[in-house]
């Protein structure tokens, strides 16, 4: 039973970067903007957070730096795709490629640096309770924060007027413009939020989950987060469920190795990617659901006729 609790804890920990990145991208896409740069923003967030954490010895300052760095590079995307109306697919790809290069460049002197990361909670008394203590009171603080972010995003999108406006802009920017909403400004905010969340996801990896800096350490999680948004049919709670599902899959390789399963490790390492492909195919097959839930203007540049 304790082993089971341990597995849950590990799954939540592995799914958390996906929760952050996919929730951020969800809000961006809800406004009608497709930012394929998640992987790049995560990497930049990761390297920035690690560098600041290593320099200041404060992992929490590092987290702040990761958020800011993710938001900052997302602004490059925003200027190109929103103000200059560049192709969103190409611009997102460029951001991912740029993020890989930039993070490798900035991170050179931090490879094999050791830092004190953010540790899981240890609430005296509570965390030591059998099973319940592990399940509820011994996660990393950033895991709790990701759950709070989920609740906040859900509340924002479906319970606030501002969230309604974001959804409306994603649905029909022309209509939103016609009744007087500043479409471009709203989309800027949505992209910024997505960038900050991706940066936070990278920061979690670099200063809490591992904690270390390795070139390309996100290992495609940014792309999996993008797939998760489709998998979730743009619904926050399904993002959460999907993130933990994929978190669980990444653990499968460690589990199998622990169980002494005779299988080359490379095949186990393929699992998350293969699972992503399979899930994507299954969800996308239902074109009607996608059509009803996908923001109608997703990926299309908006140019207000003035």
């Amino acid at each position: 039973m304790d082993q089971f609790a341990q597995l849950i804890v590990l799954t939540l920990a592995a799914g958390t970067p996906l929760v952050y990145a996919a929730l951020g991208e969800l809000v961006t896409e809800k406004s009608g903007v497709l930012n394929l740069g998640v992987e790049g923003m995560m990497l930049v967030g990761a390297v920035a957070s690690f560098a600041v954490a290593a320099t200041t010895k404060s992992p929490w300052l590092g987290v702040g730096a990761g958020i800011l760095a993710g938001a900052a590079v997302s602004m490059i995307f925003a200027v190109l795709a929103l103000s200059l109306m560049s192709n969103q697919v190409a611009t997102g790809l460029a951001l991912s490629l740029f993020g890989v290069g930039l993070s490798a460049f900035l991170g050179l002197e931090y490879v094999s640096v050791v830092i004190e990361g953010i540790r899981p909670l240890a609430v005296p008394g509570l965390s030591d309770l059998p099973i319940v203590g592990k399940l509820l009171f011994a996660h990393n603080p950033l895991v709790y924060l990701s759950l709070a972010l989920f609740a906040a995003v859900h509340w924002f999108l479906y319970r606030t007027r501002a969230g309604l406006v974001v959804r409306a802009v994603g649905e029909s920017p022309q209509s939103a413009h016609a009744i007087g909403y500043p479409v471009i400004a709203i989309r800027y905010m949505a992209v910024l939020f997505g960038g900050a969340c991706s940066g936070l996801a990278g920061a979690y990896l670099a200063v809490a989950y591992t904690p270390l800096w390795v070139e390309g350490m996100t290992a495609g999680r940014g792309w999996i987060a993008l797939a998760l948004v489709v998998f979730a049919t743009w619904k926050p709670w399904r993002v959460l469920a999907g993130a933990y599902l994929f978190g669980g899959v990444t653990l499968a390789q460690f589990q199998a190795q622990a169980l002494g399963l005779e299988m080359p490790s490379q095949f186990l390492s393929m699992l998350p990617y293969v699972a992503t492909i399979v899930v994507l195919a299954i969800i996308s097959r239902d074109a009607t659901t996608i059509r009803l839930n996908a923001p109608a203007s997703l990926g299309k540049p908006f140019h207000a006729g003035a």
Binding site: L164, A178, G180, A287
Partner: protein, 530 residues
Amino acid sequence: MSVPSPRLALRGITKAYPSVVANDDIALDVLPGEIHAVLGENGAGKSTLMKIIYGVVKPDRGTIAWEGSPVVIANPARARRLGIGMVFQHFSLFETLTVAENIALALEADRAGPGLSQRIGDVSAHYGLPLEPDRHVHTMSVGERQRVEIVRCLLQGPRLLIMDEPTSVLTPQAVEKLFETLRTLASEGCSILYISHKLDEIRALCQKATVLRAGRVTGTCDPREETSESLARMMIGGDLPRPRHAAAKAGAERLAVDHLTLPADDPFGTSLHAISLAVRAGEIVGIAGVSGNGQKELMAALSGERPVDDANAIRLDGAPVGTLDAAKRRAMGLAFVPEERLGRGAVPELSLAENALLTAHRQSMVSRGFVRSEAVRTYAEDTIRAFGVKAGGPHAAARSLSGGNLQKYIVGREIRQKPRVMIAAQPTWGVDVGAAAQIRQALIDLREAGVAVLVVSEELDELFEICDRLAVIAQGRLSEAKDIADTNAGEIGQLMAGSFVAAGPHGQRRFSPAGALGLDAEPGTGDREP
């Protein structure tokens, strides 16, 4: 009593775009409680003027006075605060949101809170515009959507309501109903700016009219004292062109549709139910209907853009083609002019020559898989010349042409492929009077040459002008085609409302004449698959 001061007064309004002066020194006065028509043909500058009043477009010059004081209307929010509401021709609604959410979005935050549903109920009851606040817009008919737009405006307590071509989505009977609402509103002191190019409607509804032509005011009048002809002369500066039209000499059946049933592939679409229709050589058959009743789906099925499962449901010259794609049907002599010109009928970024290659490549433009660019250019040049297209030549990008000229080019491109069957959807929508007349004449000439022609249009006048027989589509079902001589606008209007649907084999289950009309208080019965 002195003359009341105008609610809205425009002076010297001018707005120029790089290629055209949309508004040139416009003056306009609207009195309180007045229903004021702004009349002009497509491209005369009506829409630009309305967008200026509603704060969507900023004028280059000129002044706007609201209830006597000069104002700058910087954006729509400012316009709404002043008390100006606008019902757009292309609705500014959000399909996946509910009626209440759509309305809340347009209201100030403090007025969109609790109690909104109650107020929606009150307003819709008072003006006879029933609505269900919790319904999603994508499940609603076009008429119902217009009600959402109107109620949304009325909830803001407007003192000036702008209606941009509101009747193009309504049946003649629904138009009457709308006019009653507008008269009630005006009697309560609200001014109404009514934009239209339909002369009869303006004469029936409005107390004053300002006529625009090529961006300038060419006259103001009391339309009740004018004839349609005199209004038309002000509008286009000459008499309305009338097409030549000899008696039909219909021949063999060219296009046959036999119990075509097609579920909607789009959650926002309409399903087609047992549609049957025949078009013979040498006749023009028209399909009337309120938009959103299955026209788009029927066109996709007939053109081959969406092949159907039953090959025999559609036959060209007797051959079953239901399962064939658009290219194969074209090879068999089908030509098609779609409703959307830019992006479907033509690729906006490509040249006219390349747009000829798009559908006419069977006209010796390709040899061994490679394009013969000389042949392509010649075809484009000949089309431009034969149809009087005003363009910079075959290398001009499609999007650089005006709507009317591009439509002439597309129609010409299709006709010059010598089709056996021609299908045209909304062939003159948004096209200036001259081009529209030319396109109608071209379709009539095609009929004289023995081609089977099918025209889908929302403009009843146009259909009565050029068709030999007329059918009506409502809720995805098609009425029997009637000889034009044996019917009239009133009867067609009843059919557009869905009166025939009850008689159909599947009719009982889903009968809702008002659903198509957008009149009933139980909109859930409309035939739209959620």
